[in-house]
């Protein structure tokens, strides 16, 4: 065969141009869309352009520009699409939160838009920091077990702190003085790092050492260890912190990465089976979780004479939106009540922009996840591949869990819509997540040494 004598082969995206200017123009576009939404909201609610319009616009644009410059400097070959999409989603989120701030009928209602802008700024700062400090994503591989341990600590931390009234059933907050953070959010990055480092080493054992039973590859008992441990941990989180969302996310990322690393469908079946089993057992035991299931099954059942529950209100909001929505600022989504700005913000989007707006937003999420998977395909090192898949899966699963919950597809769990929903920890983490993905894609799209970029490919 001639394969023996052929030189090394590099598979690269066609042309793989640098495309930083594409990113910049998309970013300008992405900054203008929220400003338009802001103006529209102000006009419809107050009859005039909002006073802070210039500052919000400039603030958002300034953040985006900062992020762009850091990409230009530290990751020149990175994907051109991720940053603009993240910026657009963040900007839209700010407008919707501001709009709900102005809803006088919403109780309790604390102004949150300014805080969210602040958190977005911090998120961008973290983005820039990751860009500058993380020279090569493969360095993360050194911290495989450390990040696994850190993830466990962060997940377990809230359980050891006194719960507060107003934590709404789930114990996932850490209160530090006047503000609170959700340490579980940062786990979304730490876990994929741990899993990709772990699976890099173990995937051959997991993929090849298996017996074939009934057409399925059953893993050996000793290889089953890690999956059982992860499963047990996610069930424990569910029991002690009653946080369904994190538990599903945690286990989902693991199953996705296991499947990608080993190419064995039986792992997915196994994972689904075990998740179902654990879920069933917990619903029998835990009242909080059972309540969620009941609300999912009967969203329109009136609760204690107070009208329908939140999911019911969210469904009404989506229905009221129709095809093109009521227009920004003209909906009645404060009826959703508590958590309208965080978990249920998709309800407001659905009511005021209609199904056209919701699909556009979901497409943006889809595109971002697609860029992540595309990065995984283009990455040359197995660790980068797995990490990119894990991060993209973490991102996509978040959207699925919360969007599925709000639309009544799956039981609602506490999870924020990435970039859009109110929640400081979530915004920060997702910016860092995008930064790591951009770093991987920078390395993946960088031309191989010795191969010069063809002239004319840079726009």
């Amino acid at each position: 065969m001639t394969a023996l004598e052929s030189p090394a082969v590099v598979i690269a995206p066609k042309g793989a141009p640098i495309r930083r200017n594409t990113e910049l123009s998309l970013l300008v576009f992405a900054a203008l869309v929220p400003v338009l939404a802001y103006a529209e909201t102000g006009l419809s609610m107050d009859g005039r352009l909002p006073a802070g319009m210039l500052w919000y616009g400039l603030g958002l644009g300034g953040f985006a520009l900062l992020a762009h410059l850091s990409v230009r400097r530290c990751a020149p070959h990175a994907d051109p699409l991720m940053l603009p999409i993240a910026a657009l989603l963040n900007g839209l989120g700010l407008v919707f939160i501001w709009r709900l701030d102005k809803a006088r009928e919403l109780h309790p209602n604390y102004p949150a838009a300014q805080n969210q802008l602040l958190w977005s700024g911090l998120g961008i700062a973290l983005f820039v920091a990751v860009m500058a400090l993380l020279k090569d994503h493969r360095r993360l591989q050194r911290y495989t077990y450390l990040s696994g341990f850190a993830a466990l600590v962060l997940l377990a931390l809230p359980a050891f702190f006194p719960a507060r009234a107003g934590d709404f059933g789930a114990r996932i907050w850490l209160h530090l003085g006047s503000f609170s953070i959700q340490p579980g959010e940062f786990v979304k990055i730490l876990l994929p790092v741990f899993f990709s480092g772990f699976l890099m080493v173990k995937r051959d054992a997991l993929a090849l050492a298996s017996r074939r039973v009934l057409g399925l590859y059953l893993p050996r008992g000793r290889d089953l260890g890690p999956i059982v441990v992860v499963w047990a941990l996610s069930v424990l989180i569910l029991v002690f912190e009653t946080d369904l969302g994190t538990s599903v996310l945690f286990f989902g990322i693991f199953v996705v990465m296991l499947y990608v690393a080993t190419q064995r469908t039986s792992w997915v079946l196994f994972g689904a089976l075990m998740a179902g089993l654990g879920f069933w057992a917990v619903t029998r035991a835990e009242g909080h979780v059972r309540g969620r299931i009941d609300e999912w099954l009967h969203p329109l059942a009136a609760a204690r004479g107070a009208g329908v529950g939140q999911i019911g209100q969210a469904l009404f909001a989506l229905g009221a939106g129709g095809a093109f929505g009521t227009g920004l600022g003209q909906g009645h989504s404060w009826l959703i009540g508590f958590a309208a700005k965080s978990d249920f913000i998709l309800g407001t989007i659905g009511e005021e922009t209609g199904v056209a707006g919701v699909i556009a937003v979901l497409l943006l999420y889809g595109l971002l996840a697609e860029r992540g998977l595309r990065t995984a395909l283009a990455a040359r090192d197995p660790f980068g591949k797995l990490l990119a898949v894990g991060l993209a899966a973490a991102f996509a699963l978040q959207v699925f869990i919360v969007a599925g919950g709000v639309t009544g597809t799956i039981p609602l769990t506490g999870m924020t819509l990435p970039f859009v929903a109110q929640g400081g920890s979530s915004v920060i983490t997702n910016w860092a997540l995008v930064a790591v993905l951009l770093k991987i894609s920078d390395l993946a799209r960088r031309p191989a040494p010795g191969e010069s970029l063809q002239p004319g490919t840079t726009p």
């Binding site: 690269a12 998309l26 999409i85 920004l328 209609g354 497409l363």
Partner: protein
């Protein structure tokens, strides 16, 4: 605010949002057209086919290659640009046509090295004919023959895009 203004703004916002999505998809359009394979050793960075079979031109012919590249870009629209192997052990391999002769056979120095029991070492060649203005396939004395659309070749024959050349179990098509 009048009802009309608000309606226009409402639909305008949706239009702008969708415009962004469409522009974003346009940016990644290149994803749909797959990947290219380049060889590290290659100095020309030309678009090659499967490197296992498609041989790089020797270093001496590299400058000649470079000169041909602009000529190809000036080619009229609709001219075939690549060969695709649609059946056989090399199925899925594409070879770009850049004005050079393509040789097919089991010999190691063929452009497309056929790993096919029914192929001869020097089985056939495909070359551009300036007079006919088309790509021409010629059987170079093979044992089992070269078939163009199920008819055995006896003389050099111009190729039409989409017509199938069969050598043993391998089927090759000229595509635009």
């Amino acid at each position: 605010m009048s009802e009309l203004t608000l309606t226009v703004m409402r639909l305008g916002f949706l239009a702008v949002l969708w415009l962004f999505v469409i522009v974003a998809v346009q940016v990644i359009r290149s994803d749909l057209f797959g990947t290219k394979m380049t060889q590290r050793a290659a100095t020309t960075g030309r678009r090659g086919g499967n490197p296992n079979t498609a041989r790089q031109p020797s270093a001496a012919s590299a400058p000649q290659q470079r000169q041909q590249a602009p000529a190809q870009s000036r080619q009229r629209r609709g001219a075939p640009t690549h060969l695709v192997i649609t059946q056989g052990s090399l199925a899925g391999t594409t070879v770009a046509l850049q004005g050079q002769t393509i040789t097919l056979g089991r010999a190691h120095d063929s452009t497309i090295v056929l790993d096919d029991d029914y192929a001869s070492s020097r089985h056939a060649r495909i070359y551009p004919d300036q007079n006919a203005g088309a790509w021409v396939v010629e059987d170079t004395g093979s044992t089992n023959g070269t078939f163009l659309d199920n008819a055995r070749l006896t003389s050099p024959t111009p190729l039409q895009p989409g017509s199938a050349i069969r050598i043993g179990r391998t089927v090759i098509e000229l595509r635009k």
